[in-house]
């Protein structure tokens, strides 16, 4: 085990042959990227709500520094409008203080199946958890929605997320992604 230091400040540290960033990594550097994806069509009921509702448990990420920020970029395609606006967001762990509502979709109140091709749209956007809000260590990223009025019957779609040829014969399997970046 060894450190690479500059004037007593640790820039990099090595342990067991693996090099990682030190606690004095310059602020603003992206030091770790975790990607989770889901390319499985899901037509099960999308209804749900509540303070810890989870539609997609995206997966874990490991935050290396206690003082860093977490930024997440998200994209999830789906077909067929449902009830309307429902408060889509990302939540870290089951901590209701860690909901962030920076991901959204265009809502048209228009159910359309034209020649077998269903209307298609996507939930997308980005969320930020400021420095020090999330502790160092392993955490879970979750996608879901939490309607402002507490309703448990709202949802973004009524047909399916991650569409494929079942929703239009020309459609290859589409999928969802979340990109989690740790920023020193």
């Amino acid at each position: 085990m060894a450190d690479l230091q500059l004037n007593g400040i640790t820039l990099f540290t090595e342990s067991g042959g693996t090099v990682s960033f030190g606690s004095a990594t310059p602020q603003g550097m992206i030091i770790n990227v975790t990607v989770h994806r889901d390319f499985t069509r899901d037509s099960s009921s999308a209804s749900g709500g509540g303070s810890t509702h989870t539609n997609w448990a995206c997966g874990n990420f490991t935050k290396q520094l206690s003082t860093s920020m977490i930024h997440a970029n998200f994209h999830m395609p789906f077909v067929d409008d449902s009830s309307g606006v429902c408060g889509t967001g990302l939540r870290i762990d089951n901590d209701t203080t860690l909901w962030r509502y920076g991901i959204n979709y265009n809502y048209h109140n228009l159910i359309q199946n034209d020649s077998g091709d269903w209307s298609m749209q996507a939930i997308h956007g980005q969320c930020l958890w400021a420095r020090g809000v999330v502790s160092a260590g392993v955490h879970a990223m979750n996608f879901g929605w939490y309607p402002g009025n507490g309703s448990t019957s709202e949802s973004p779609w009524s047909r399916a997320k991650n569409p494929n040829s079942s929703d239009g014969a020309r459609n290859p399997q589409h999928g969802s992604s979340v990109v989690i970046m740790e920023i020193a």
Binding site: V19, S115, R170, S176
Partner: protein, 202 residues
């Protein structure tokens, strides 16, 4: 040539071409970012030109291509897409980003139907999509956006492309009739850019 090392692990290396990230730089960090847009290539199809629709037997069209160099063999690639166009056209057509697309058969960018490297084990990624409504407005605008990700691309020079790859071999489909936007279809519109941000993750 010289290196910066910890316990014989190389973090940075320097040669006649400058300073480079070493093989033992922390995994998960971004080691390169490439931005590509349509403004830098005047030969790119712009809004005033129809996308060719002579698609007999074609299923795949790659209308935007850029070259990049991947630095590490085991690194991953992620790309954010913001590709837009005008003119409502077909329905669903399978938009995606692709690494090293097959060469077109002719001058229209179209690839013959069912090329083996475009299906199955291909490098198409359909993590991008667009909002579709069949509302038939000629000046409708549409943006293909989202996230693509690859874990199997080798070190060296590659091409990233944007296009579509229909799943049922039914040619003639596309997300819009004109790539990008300008005032030809709608006098209020300025020339808009389409772009990709491509990042290499160690």
């Amino acid at each position: 040539m010289s290196d910066i090392k910890i316990n014989n692990k190389t973090i940075f290396t320097h040669d006649k071409d400058g300073l480079h990230i070493g093989d033992d730089y922390p995994t998960g960090a971004i080691v390169a970012a490439h931005y590509f847009d349509t403004d830098e290539d005047k030969t790119q199809i712009l809004g005033k030109e129809n996308i060719t629709t002579n698609t007999s037997g074609d299923t795949t069209n790659v209308i935007f291509k850029r070259t990049f160099i991947k630095q590490f063999e085991t690194s991953k690639l992620i790309s954010y897409s913001n590709m837009h166009g005008q003119g409502n056209y077909s329905y669903i057509c399978g938009v995606g980003l692709v690494i090293d697309p097959a060469p077109p058969a002719g001058t229209d960018g179209m690839v013959p139907g069912s090329p083996t490297d475009e299906r199955g084990t291909h490098n198409w990624d359909h993590g991008i999509s667009y909002d579709y409504r069949n509302n038939g407005i000629a000046y409708a605008m549409r943006t293909a956006h989202g996230i693509a990700y690859w874990t199997n691309i080798s070190k060296g020079e590659h091409v990233i492309g944007f296009g579509w790859n229909s799943s049922n071999s039914y040619g003639g489909n596309m997300p819009f009739t004109h790539f990008n936007s300008d005032s030809v279809l709608d006098a209020r519109q300025t020339i808009g850019l389409s772009s990709l941000l491509l990042m290499e993750i160690k």
